[in-house]
């Protein structure tokens, strides 16, 4: 998207607007990050809670909410990935990069790549598990989705269910690592890494003078 001529955007670089940055993620990227963080954490909690319930309306309700949320996470993750490909995330600040040993840079890139893979793998496996169990997913109770695999109870129980759960816990572990790293940068290294993803609202709008 070309720069609108009248926009009072800072002319710090000659890059197109979507690749220009003030060291922060864009508004849409930040919104998707926090929305998905909330949805994934909620789905994990619902998933852990529901499997222990006895056969009851509450169980059926939670299973369906979990599936609806999972499909929403899948769709929003696809949107987020497309957005990320079209809007390059800001590079790490020079000072932060210099302070990071090689293994930390690799861990940083690896964690994000793995998390993105799991944003897709976990909901897809859950969907496949539901299909294989003979329960098609009907999104929000109104939109029937196609079965990913044919009903097959053996496949559902012996492969898809444990794989869905294992990868979901892997995602939770990576997310915990991601949060721990962000907190370490913020509270121990005192660098501005967390601010890149923190919602705006403290006078740090684009065009504001850098602090």
């Amino acid at each position: 998207m070309p720069t609108p001529p009248a926009a009072p955007a800072p002319a710090r670089t000659g890059l197109p607007r979507r690749d220009r940055h003030d060291g922060r993620y864009g508004r849409i990227a930040i919104a998707l990050h926090w929305l998905l963080a909330l949805m994934i954490l909620s789905s994990l909690c619902v998933g852990v809670a529901m499997v222990g319930l006895p056969f009851s309306p509450a169980r059926v309700r939670l299973f369906n909410w979990h599936k609806w949320a999972g499909i929403a996470i899948l769709a929003l993750s696809a949107l987020r990935l497309l957005w990320r490909l079209a809007h390059r995330p800001p590079p790490l600040p020079e000072a932060v990069l210099r302070a990071m040993p090689g293994w930390q840079r690799a861990a940083h890139q690896g964690t994000i790549a793995l998390m993105y893979a799991l944003f897709f793998a976990v909901p897809l496996l859950g969907w496949a598990y539901s299909s294989a169990s003979g329960f098609p997913v009907v999104w929000f109770g109104v939109l029937p989705l196609p079965d990913l695999v044919a009903p097959d109870h053996a496949l559902a129980e012996s492969l898809l269910k444990p794989l869905h759960a294992t990868l979901a816990f892997s995602l939770a572990t990576l997310a915990a690592l991601h949060v721990a790293a962000a907190l370490k940068h913020h509270f121990i290294d005192h660098d501005p890494l967390l601010a890149r993803m923190w919602p705006r609202g403290r006078g740090d709008r684009p065009g504001d003078p850098p602090p």
Partner: protein
């Protein structure tokens, strides 16, 4: 009509009592005739007894859980058929279903179905359907009126059935009808919420009938 001398003597008897006696005799004779079983050739032919090939037949149902179609089936049932599948009108069908054989193919749900909330198998081990009339609707379609008893509750209903010839001289009767589970208190207490499990249950059946005289 015999000798004129005899009839002359009989004519001397009082006429009225003789007439009365004759009438009584005639009435008694008519009475006996009416009570006697009718001759065999006048009875409507007894409908031949077809057989249900249960192991090849299916009775399934579809419910909706929060919009999700969930299929189940009854694995054990039997039928007494007094009809010729090739000419079912005037025949009769009595179907008996083992409610304990209901399955959703999911061990956790299957453990619940026999409980009082659902089929209450301990008190109502069988559901039954007994036809009261079978009418031809044209083509291979028939309307079977009957009474369905499920969980001790009986309802009249009409079941549409199509009967087509199948291999080995058999016939296949297929049909589908919609029942309301709450009419029969199936899914009681906390499960009466129809936004969770819909009230409408579609029953699909495919019954293989062996015509009389075929294996």
């Amino acid at each position: 009509m015999n000798t004129p001398g005899l009839s002359a003597r009989r004519a001397a008897l009082p006429a009225l009592p003789a007439m009365a006696l004759l009438w009584l005799l005639a009435l008694a004779l008519l009475w006996l005739l009416a009570l006697a079983p009718p001759p065999a050739h006048a009875a409507p032919p007894e409908p031949p007894a077809a057989k249900l090939v249960a192991e090849k037949s299916q009775i399934g149902f579809v419910t909706r859980q929060m919009g999700v179609p969930v299929e189940g089936s009854f694995r054990r049932f039997e039928a007494t058929l007094k009809l010729d599948p090739r000419r079912p009108e005037g025949g009769s069908v009595a179907l008996s279903i083992d409610t304990g054989s209901a399955s959703l193919g999911l061990p956790m749900a299957d453990a619940e179905l026999p409980k009082p909330t659902w089929f209450d198998v301990a008190h109502h081990p069988r559901a039954s359907f007994e036809s009261t009339a079978i009418r031809a609707l044209g083509g291979d379609r028939y309307a079977v009126n009957g009474r369905l008893t499920l969980k001790g509750i009986t309802r009249e209903l009409v079941v549409p059935v199509s009967i087509a010839p199948a291999e080995a001289g058999r016939s296949v009767a297929t049909g589908s009808l919609v029942l309301h589970r709450l009419d029969f208190r199936v899914g009681d207490n906390e499960w009466t919420d129809t936004s969770m499990v819909g009230n409408e249950v579609t029953v699909n059946f495919r019954l293989i009938l062996a015509a009389p005289g075929t294996p």
